[in-house]
């Protein structure tokens, strides 16, 4: 099986930094650009190892994204990193026109998206990035579920030409995958099998979905298939179709506005090929708020993003389906 049973935790940003150091050794053409957040995004690790291949452009994100485009034009593989609020949030124009239109080899890797940013509050809790990024032609959108996935996906995007957007979480989280896991673009991972419903999640909500599936099994006798849709675009249409056909109910879970993100992408795919009820667990078209690290779980409770919310959505959908 692909899942780990060690119950370790890991930090996605740290894993990203380590992967970059490794990749930098293999590919002398790989460079990083940062915007005064290289310490936080762990690209500094890369810079410490390869000082002339990390360019810190200061707090100037529009410039950051466009300089990345220039480096890519000159043949470099470019990783551009800062907080989500300031890349897709601030630089849609530059991402669209300077990177995606000419299909350049730039990888935007961000952290501090979703409510789990915590203390910084709503200004930083970017809940709209999937929506904006996935609607740009040529852009591919990823959200790893744990540190191991983050490391593997960093290597995958480094080797795949063209623009990528990858969202890392701020807090450390449980390691779900085992070391042997390999990822393929546009192919989601089924983490547990079940016949009564399917939960499709990404990022930190994958772990909560597995927890919801366990609760449903133990308390209600409902067996759920759990899918890690780490690749929001291109989405795994075949797997969505299969889930709709075999389980009849789909619940999505994401740390993102319910408008435009994973829930929308799954709904679109499902509706076109095999319409079944889809319930979307996510931020309900509202802004978040501050919470200290020890209050993050309470914050998720307040905004309805816990394993109980996912489980409840599965039960509600089944009840409606039975009526």
């Amino acid at each position: 099986m692909q899942l780990s049973n060690l119950r370790k935790t890991g930090d996605m940003r740290g894993a990203y930094g380590e992967a970059l150091v490794e990749l930098g050794n293999e590919n002398p053409n790989l460079v990083c650009v940062g915007a005064d957040t290289t310490e936080s995004l762990k690209t500094k690790k890369f810079g410490d190892k390869y000082p002339d291949r990390l360019f810190n452009l200061g707090i100037a994100e529009a410039n950051l994204v466009s300089v990345a485009a220039g480096l890519a034009i000159a043949g470099k593989v470019v990783f551009a990193s800062t907080y989500a609020a300031f890349l897709p949030g601030r630089c849609l124009d530059q991402i669209r026109n300077a990177i995606c239109y000419p299909n350049l080899n730039v990888k935007l890797v961000v952290s501090h998206a979703g409510l789990t940013v915590g203390a910084d509050g709503a200004s930083h809790q970017q809940n709209e990035d999937f929506s904006v990024m996935r609607s740009i032609p040529n852009m591919k959108v990823l959200a790893p579920a744990d540190a191991l996935a983050a490391q593997q996906l960093t290597k995958l995007v480094a080797k795949t030409p063209g623009p990528f957007y990858m969202r890392l979480a701020r807090p450390s989280s449980e390691i779900l995958y085992s070391e042997s896991i390999r990822f393929a673009l546009g192919k989601a991972n089924v983490l547990s099998e079940g016949n009564d419903a399917t939960i499709i999640a990404c990022g930190l909500m994958v772990q909560r979905s597995l927890e919801a599936a366990r609760l449903l099994k133990e308390q209600e006798g409902i067996s759920c298939r759990v899918i890690d849709m780490f690749c929001i675009k291109p989405i795994d249409h075949d797997l969505v179709y299969d889930a709709a056909k075999k389980t009849g109910i789909i619940v999505t879970a994401e740390e993102h506005n319910v408008i435009g993100g994973l829930g929308s992408a799954v709904t679109e795919s499902c509706c076109e090929r095999y319409p079944v009820p889809v319930k979307r667990v996510g931020v309900k078209d509202t802004f978040g708020e501050s919470a200290r690290d020890d209050e993050i779980e309470d914050l998720l409770v307040k905004y309805g993003l816990t394993s109980y919310d996912i489980a409840k959505s599965v039960i509600d959908s089944r009840r409606k389906a039975l009526v």
Binding site: G70, L71, A72, I73, A74, Y101
Partner: protein, 528 residues
């Protein structure tokens, strides 16, 4: 001209911007840049990032002339299925159907190109390449904050392999830049960002090229060249007119617009005329009156029976004006003496056919062209143009046909020279002459029309200007007559194309003050 064809065919585009940057892009692609149309992805090439992407028609025309794609494709501009998109698209294996080779950067959103150039320049430094990155930006575009983010970054990384050319045409979509968002003192701004700054006349190819070569040698700092340009340069009803920022002329007007570009009439006041007062004052008055260039008569007391100024005087006058200096050497042995006038930064240098052999003229022309100066040749009224001149027409920018015998100002115009001009004009054009015929001697506002009709486009005016009690008024009067002559020619062309009414309507605001003299008052009235 290709740009006008393209824009007119497309029915939309940005004609003004294409013209203001024409000389800049031409200098880059035809002289300064290392690039290879046969091998557009040559790794050591210089890069050109056209951040001012709304100048696409001019950019495409330049690329076509440089050899990147056939000129007949220009007519597909902005059409469905065309490789010439409204704003240029980076050419790559991924995007071949909507782009042409040679385009490095997809522009269209303002303010991004300089940052992209910073990325390219960083990569070049990393790879220890010796290439250079040129970036064209607009002055309206400089409202964008990102321009200044990139400016800081380029200075931080000491990117001396970047030269920015700022097309300072002072107009943006809604109006004049200094009203919409003042940019001045723009040079000080860039200097404060630790850039090496230069300023040039943006339609003077020699000056542009010199400065481009100069900035290439600057160490440890990026450079910006502020090119003072005129939007819509060459087309009167577009010039400095914000209306033409993003609008195409109707296709049927194209032949007339092209005619205008080739037939402007220039006034060149000759400062030795009139009272022997100081030259500086005469130049300033000429400039204020709207003269196009300053004509300098250099006489040595040998070739002609009079002595005027020498190279040292011209050197001192050079700082008085930025108008071109049109130096007319009426001296013996010009091949030995021309260096001094090159040093004095003349823009056109004309020597007399009577004073040099074919070999000597070629030596002079070669030297002038190397220094970015336009070579000219002059003939006195009794002299026939030597036959060898016909073998070197591509090296000659100006032919002065003397309409008086040289030596003194204030002489009577010799009417028989009109026929000589017309004959030469016809013969030379047939042999591929692309330069200007300049008429020198006894020309006044009464005489101008017939001299123009004989084919001369540069009018030297001495006594008519400086012999007048109202110098300022005299130049205005001449310039006015020059405009009338041009408009008359264009009206005739539009009539032959059967678009006269339409042309008059498009050019109303230019024609209104000239209507009486052109005899079109009633027609103008009818177009209201």
């Amino acid at each position: 001209m290709l740009a006008i064809l393209g824009i007119a065919e497309a029915g939309s585009g940005h004609p003004g911007a294409s013209f203001s940057a024409a000389e800049i892009m031409g200098s880059l692609y035809l002289r300064v840049m290392k690039h290879s149309p046969r091998n557009p992805e040559w790794p050591d090439r210089d890069y050109f990032v056209n951040s001012k992407a709304h100048s696409a028609p001019g950019y495409y025309a330049t690329l076509s002339v440089a050899g990147y794609f056939p000129p007949d494709e220009m007519s597909s501009l902005r059409r469905l299925g065309s490789r010439l998109q409204g704003h240029p698209v980076r050419y790559s294996s991924y995007q071949q159907s909507q782009s042409v080779p040679g385009i490095e950067y997809s522009g269209g959103s303002e303010g991004i190109g300089l940052s992209v150039a910073v990325g390219i320049a960083l990569a070049s430094k990393m790879d220890r390449k010796r290439n250079h990155v040129y970036v064209l930006i607009g002055d309206g575009e400089s409202n964008e904050g990102q321009i200044w983010e990139a400016a800081m970054a380029a200075a931080k990384f000491k990117l001396d392999n970047i030269t920015v050319i700022l097309d300072r045409n002072r107009i943006q979509q809604d109006g004049f830049t200094e009203e919409i968002m003042p940019m001045d003192p723009v040079r000080d701004k860039w200097a404060a960002f630790n850039w090496n700054t230069e300023e040039v006349k943006g339609h003077n190819v020699e000056e542009i090229m010199d400065t481009l070569y100069k900035t290439k040698r600057v160490k440890d700092r990026p450079s910006i060249i502020i090119a003072n340009t005129i939007k819509g340069n060459g087309i009167k009803h577009m010039t400095n007119n914000p209306q033409w920022h993003g609008k195409a002329p109707p296709r049927k007007h194209t032949p007339v617009l092209l005619e205008e570009l080739e037939n402007e009439c220039f006034i060149a006041p000759s400062i030795i005329a009139g009272e022997p007062e100081n030259y500086e004052d005469k130049i300033r008055k000429a400039e204020r009156g709207g003269a196009d260039m300053i004509h300098l008569d250099i006489m040595d007391g040998k070739f002609v029976n009079n002595t005027t100024m020498g190279a040292e005087t011209i050197k001192k006058l050079r700082r008085v004006t930025s108008l071109p200096f049109d130096a007319h050497l009426m001296i013996e042995n010009p091949v030995e003496l021309v260096d001094g006038f090159i040093d004095a930064q003349c823009d056109i240098i004309t020597v007399h056919a009577e004073t040099c052999t074919e070999e000597e003229f070629l030596a002079i022309a070669e030297k002038l062209l190397q220094n970015g100066i336009s070579p000219g040749i002059a003939v006195n009224p009794p002299t026939d143009l030597p036959l060898w001149v016909f073998s070197h027409l591509e090296k000659i920018d100006v032919l002065i046909v003397m309409s008086v015998n040289p030596g003194f100002s204030g002489q009577q115009f010799l009417p028989e020279t009109l026929e000589k001009m017309a004959l030469l004009d016809g013969k030379l054009r047939k042999h591929g002459f692309k330069g200007y015929i300049e008429a020198d001697g006894g020309i006044d506002s009464r005489r101008l029309q017939e001299v123009y009709d004989a084919g001369a486009k540069i009018m030297v005016a001495g006594n008519a200007v400086y012999g007048s009690s109202d110098i300022h008024g005299a130049i205005i009067q001449l310039k006015h007559k020059a405009n009338v002559a041009l408009e008359r020619k264009l009206l005739a062309r539009s009539t032959s194309l059967e678009i006269r009414q339409d042309w008059i309507r498009a050019r109303r605001h230019i024609l209104i003050p000239l209507a009486n003299e052109l005899g079109i008052e009633e027609e103008l009235h009818a177009t209201e």
